[in-house]
Symmetry: C3
Subunit: 320 residues, 3 copies
């Protein structure tokens, strides 16, 4: 996709005032490998013509991904060529097609676009030794995770049948007792144990090893609860720690072992903890089809993805 | 599998007159890691003894793969040791066992043997940093794709039940209207849009970016239609662009971005476009089992496979 | 996970007398990335508190994995930090949770812990170029294989329903005729042929290529029969060679091509042959869900895993 005449690249690197909008439009054309502005304009126009929702979600996806790339500090000339926006553009369209025009789909488009930028960096790192390009694989991965996972989450799923994981969805909601039990079982479920006091002892054991360790474990547990609640995961499963133990592991690992102690790294770690939580439903659905189990796959996969992506985000710093 | 006494290798590199046949027979023995001619002869003989169809498909597979390796310019001494024929040999046998003795199975054996040579190169590239050997994995991958995909294609599937994707198979066939709609929707489906005029506008946008871009997009679309029709994909899905959009992307990407503008590269690109089309049914079946979707996976996977294999095919040249 | 103050590491490398036990306890804490002894003690204590079976299987898993790492010659300071025990610990717990407290589960915990050490080395090799850590992925992989495969094996499965692959389980057992047919069909099934005399001819062809080749083929076939019988695979499938052909290939490949001729390598090869046999049921279950087949995947995957791990086991030596 690095197809552009030298003078185009030169102009792009001058940081045009309207650079952000131009990069987003170029992102639409880059789905078809084209950085030419007019190609992007024409394709985006035809999408709006095909239906306003096609146009709107394509635009939102491309804008969000491009903005996320700026925030994460991705190389500017790469952004300007539209190379960060195209998977976000496709993700927006696909989420609308498969999940419908609901408030939650707009949020997922935003979140999905950010994840496309991360996964693009991940795949670029993995494929570099083989001189291969990530192409639209970030879109394929991010959208697959979301579309497969959505039916398990009450607030994301608006289909005719109730959410897959929770036939009782729409009940009384999380109670205070659910919340504090979840906070501790998120720690104990790392060892497949559903006992809040075991989680409490483990949290003490972790704090003994270092106050930062205990802090990140607790923060991961809270992020796990927040994301699972926001997506509408089943109350009982949240209370049992099913949705939060991967967030705890991601948070300890990235927060205290793999990344340096900076504010940016902290934000990056908590985003990863949230991503691991969200990933739980998709993987559970996947493994269910052949009798497998989720175990700590969300933790491992998310940590690998976010850590492999680090070299492309100058604000995020590895330890050592 | 590089087991051979030095003098054997020396002899092999002298390009014996009967080199092609000897290499194919050695390919049968290489399934069991043996380059010795008599081991190959004895094993091949026992296969013919087990049943003429075992012998015939094993022979066809080994011959086709060895021939494909010659055509693609694979290193001669590697071919002579039988290292290009063994996955083709197994592919021939397995296609007969799972798809039956039909005209289409002979064609698939030929196609599958070619794909084994490509995927062998792909895996060799991916595994080289870890000093691992591709072994029989090309056979496992190629045959899996074909056996899983075949029930979706009317002309490849001769089972008792009708093709999976098309209960109405055996209808009136593709009409002229289906064909031109497919030509354009193959371009618009890249963005999940099923509107021929959107595809037309996008084709114009691509041609604006360069006449070669427009040409390869159109060529990819035609290859997509041809392969889907030849395999007997459902008419309605061909007309809606479901089988062709990946071929369009492969054709633009490999034809105008990743490979130089040569005749050999053009042929290689169009073969890849056809492979992406054929791959669509298997991936759709796979993703269906857990609620996923095909998206642009056939494009990404096929392009990665064909591009990673390039270093082993001296006639195929990367850009830059 | 290499989090430890320099003085702790220094002490650990002094090879404390109780080093093996301390390393195992540290392994429990390393599930949460912590090498601190007291963190491990507290967590292990809470597991015993949660239920004696939690505590017992966690302890057995951590001890077995640590012992296996010593036997395989893994770097001592790495072992001392608990970095070899944590996946084994989790594997023990998960096998008890999903397969129940039976004699066979104790054996699987031991076997699984050994496999965790191997797969940890494999993943470490694969992830090193990307500066990623294997984390708990060995646990996820090994336990998934065992839990998905167990329902196919009569001696491993104690659920209410009979073993998946064999509704007639509990019959008369393997006869002498089954055994010698299995010995030969294990060789012929490499080519998808279920004829004992074809296997005999092929064994002759292999011996022709070298007596060691014939010997390892025969040894692989015997290991395949032993493991399949010990796990309680269906008699008819053992006799038809379904469970043994991958062991034959692993044994020839690792025994005569990839590894040097030493006693340690021979043991390592035969363990790999057994692993490939055991892997057959899981992969068959996996591929069944979307209409795929096992082919020689167990051979390829097992050989890749065991060979990629070699650099971490100083007693195992590659050829060349």
């Amino acid at each position: 996709m690095p197809v552009a005449e030298p003078d185009v690249i030169a102009k792009l690197q001058k940081k045009e005032p309207a650079g952000f909008l131009l990069a987003s439009v170029r992102g639409v054309g880059q789905v078809d490998f084209q950085p030419l502005l007019w190609t992007g304009v024409l394709i985006l126009g035809s999408l709006w013509g095909a239906g306003w929702e096609y146009g709107l979600f394509a635009t939102l996806g491309a804008l969000s991904a491009t903005a996320a790339a700026y925030l994460l500090g991705v190389d500017r000339s790469n952004i300007a060529l539209g190379l960060q926006g195209f998977s976000g553009c496709l993700t927006g369209i696909a989420l609308w097609v498969y999940l419908g025009n609901h408030g939650s789909t707009y949020v997922l488009t935003l979140v999905g676009a950010v994840m496309c930028v991360v996964i693009n960096a991940t795949l670029t790192a993995f494929l570099a030794p083989y001189k291969l390009n990530a192409m639209t694989a970030p879109f394929c991965i991010v959208t697959a995770v979301m579309v497969i996972g959505a039916p398990s989450y009450g607030r994301l799923w608006h289909g005719a049948t109730p959410p897959a994981a929770d036939p009782t969805y729409g009940g009384s909601g999380l109670t205070w007792s659910d919340l504090w039990r979840a906070f501790f079982t998120n720690v104990s479920q790392v060892f497949l144990v559903d006992e809040w006091w075991v989680g409490l002892v483990m949290l003490v054991a972790l704090t003994l090893a270092g106050w930062r360790v205990g802090l990140f474990a607790a923060a991961g547990s809270i992020v796990g609860i927040l994301v699972a609640w926001a997506f509408g995961a089943p109350d009982a499963q949240i209370a049992n720690g099913i949705f939060g133990y991967n967030a705890v592991l991601v948070s300890i690992g990235m927060g205290t072992v793999f990344l340096a102690a900076t504010a940016w790294n902290c934000v990056y770690t908590l985003i990863a903890a949230g991503a691991a939580t969200a990933l739980t439903a998709s993987l559970t659905t996947l493994f269910d089809t052949f009798g497998g189990h989720t175990f700590t796959w969300p933790f491992n996969l998310t940590t690998w993805a976010f850590m492999a992506a680090v070299p492309f985000f100058p604000k995020i710093l590895r330890t050592g």
